[in-house]
Symmetry: C3
Subunit: 306 residues, 3 copies
């Protein structure tokens, strides 16, 4: 039995299979509409994340299955002091597969060790959120046709943004990916990513401060939020924040095929006037998130559809 | 694609179709049991309303569909500052139709403008709650056989009661409806309803203070809650409140066919001793609420059942 | 129409039928996979109990049905002051059967009197939790082959532990059951159980303070939590608590076929090193909990499967 804890749990080849399956689901939803009839997913969300939870539930329902679970620790027995190991042993009697969100790093891993059913890490603190990365990869591959030979800009809070770290780690496995890292100095990429991932893999990358400088050369722009409280002082925040807000004006600097991605929710880092730009792909990304979760559920449950 | 924001969104003719469909569902539930197989409703409740939420979920389930969503803002991403426009764009990837409850007036309308799926306003602050009005209309038409030629008493808090305002606006579209407005002076119908709706439409109406005075002439009595905190002072409340509590004794003043409706929940404004009176229709009303929501889902999803 | 308020609502004969049905479900799950197609359970949980709620929802889903409801009073209309009688009348329009958890003793009984659908008491304060008792009985009967002729040890907080009281009341209906009551003096079995249930029924029982003294003679050990706050003072708690923690060492004193049960959640009263012992049956117990709830739903809904 297999779990999903990190986006790197899948080899490049396994990942290709998963993304192929997701694309087949996209093309032929009817073919998969009963693949999980009679099966159940448990969504164990120890902290709220509506988008992720509903995406998993929708994915299982699209496959003919059902969903049960809880949406925050308050409404769970967690308050009675039960360990996640015990909880997952119990939930193993209720469901066929589980998606767990937990504020504590490593909690889904601990759960997976005790589990009788596949466990999907649906986000554990600042650590991993593998289905977001799978979603990002599927979106790029589907809309660009490839994961290699691209120049991707990653913009915003590159220091704390776990989706950015995971995406870099996933993409360095493909040849000829160039990274443009766009952030204020305070929020630049951590050393272990710069040294152990980017330099170690031999991929080309550059670090810039202004989004405008990066836009013209990008195939993909991955936007993230710059949270005010991350800055050392108010002045820096005020001085810098506009650099990281994507608007119609800045979009003029980008090429005609550049994709804009965002893990959502956004606050104001992408102006709503960009939404109608054909290059804006962040809502399509949500849809790909459902397809990739459907493919993941099928894969972990070893359900074959002919 | 069509949404439902206000009870007046449907013309009288469209409404007749909807109510006919609801009655056909009531008579032949089996015929509709798979009409929405494979479809999903998202119940996005930014404030709790168990009754309304479960009514929508039950309606979709009765049609063979499934439900997902959240039951309060706490357990949603709303706390992360996402706009309702973004939320509905995201949820459009998860579900086929959406029922949204929001404390802010107009929020469902804003959502509908960005949505890729039909949005039903399931209550927006003190503004509109159209499926309650549809429920009221279906209940009266089903049990009285008509929406015209009736005398309806509306009792309680007529000033702030949005269900009352909506029901009046819906009923003035039918000929020969007489309104008896029963309330303490402090809580009487607002001017814009009295002038722009009742007087403008030319319907007969009268305003009275005591329920006893109205009861003998009514075909339908629509009860609502009189909240203590609406009164200017405690004395007025104590002096008045019994006027607006319906009990066995007062029911003796009513005709043998008068229907008692109430949008629920009630606190004490209808004594439980009235529950067993055959004229008490407020629990039947809940059942009609499910039928009318089933009809609404089918209509907005343009699902035809032969 | 029948409800389930107390584990004694079923006669011994009816109980045998129910447990037989549960075992048939265990052996032939496919046979029952569509027994409740198109039916719905409402889980009305006025206080959170994830395990119990998910068990009911999983049970209904395993039968082909669906689930709706609420997981805590906060997200329900309870805050609007509605009575449980009114709530259940309303919910009767939404679902075919209901499981109600309530902090107030007797609330499910009050609900059942107004209900149009079968109500299952899913725990009412310190009073009753009948499906836990049914689960315990099914587990013992399935793994021991019988409910008579056993020696059962009940360990921990025997004063306040409602599952213990219910299990004793259920087991005295079988011949030749011996009870060993293991607890600190402060938490010993209440008089009404000792006198009116155990002595009155003529069953053999003894009361001991140390788990070690009991272990060698038991067929079944039923563990419960000893909550610190139940003790009169910290010293007593420290002195005593290890007596009631089951670990590998103590398990050596038990026979090779002794079953360990626990209603869960546990805190530390069973060391996790016991989990891999083949005699540990507390997670199997959770699975039996689903089977017995499936059998219960079928029985109360009078669904026959051939």
């Amino acid at each position: 039995m297999r779990h999903l804890m990190s986006p790197l749990d899948f080899s490049v080849e396994e990942l290709e299979h998963l993304l192929d399956l997701a694309n087949d689901i996209e093309q032929n939803p009817e073919k998969y509409a009963h693949a999980c009839d009679g099966k159940k997913i448990a969504t164990l969300f120890y902290e709220p994340s509506t988008r992720t939870r509903l995406s998993f539930e929708a994915a299982m329902m699209n496959l003919g299955g059902k969903a049960l679970g809880f949406s925050s620790a308050d409404s769970s027995s967690a308050s009675k002091g039960e360990s996640v190991s015990d909880t997952i042993r119990v939930v193993s009697c209720f469901a066929d597969i589980c998606a767990m969100r937990h504020p504590k790093e490593g909690a889904p891993l601990v759960a997976s060790l005790a589990s009788k059913i596949p466990v999907i890490n649906a986000g554990d603190g600042g650590h991993q959120h593998p289905t977001q990365t799978l979603t990002d990869l599927l979106t790029i591959r589907s809309l660009k046709g490839r994961l290699d030979n691209i120049t991707i800009g990653l913009c915003g809070d590159l220091k704390f943004g776990r989706t950015v770290h995971s995406l870099i780690e996933a993409l360095v496995r493909y040849p000829n990916v160039k990274f443009v890292l766009i952030s204020p100095e305070e929020l630049c990429i951590p050393d272990y990513i710069r040294e152990d991932v980017l330099k170690a893999s031999g991929h080309e990358f550059e670090e810039v401060t202004r989004l405008e400088d990066a836009l013209p050369k990008l195939d993909v722009l991955y936007m993230t939020r710059v949270q005010k409280e991350r800055f050392f002082n108010e002045d820096d925040y005020v001085r810098m924040k506009d650099f990281y807000i994507l608007d119609k004006e800045k979009m003029k600097l980008a090429g005609p095929d550049m994709l804009v991605l965002h893990p959502l929710p956004r606050v104001n880092e992408i102006s709503t006037e960009v939404d109608s730009d054909p290059r804006a792909a962040y809502f399509k990304q949500v849809q790909y998130g459902v397809y990739v979760r459907m493919a993941l559920i099928l894969t972990l449950l070893e359900v074959k559809v002919c």
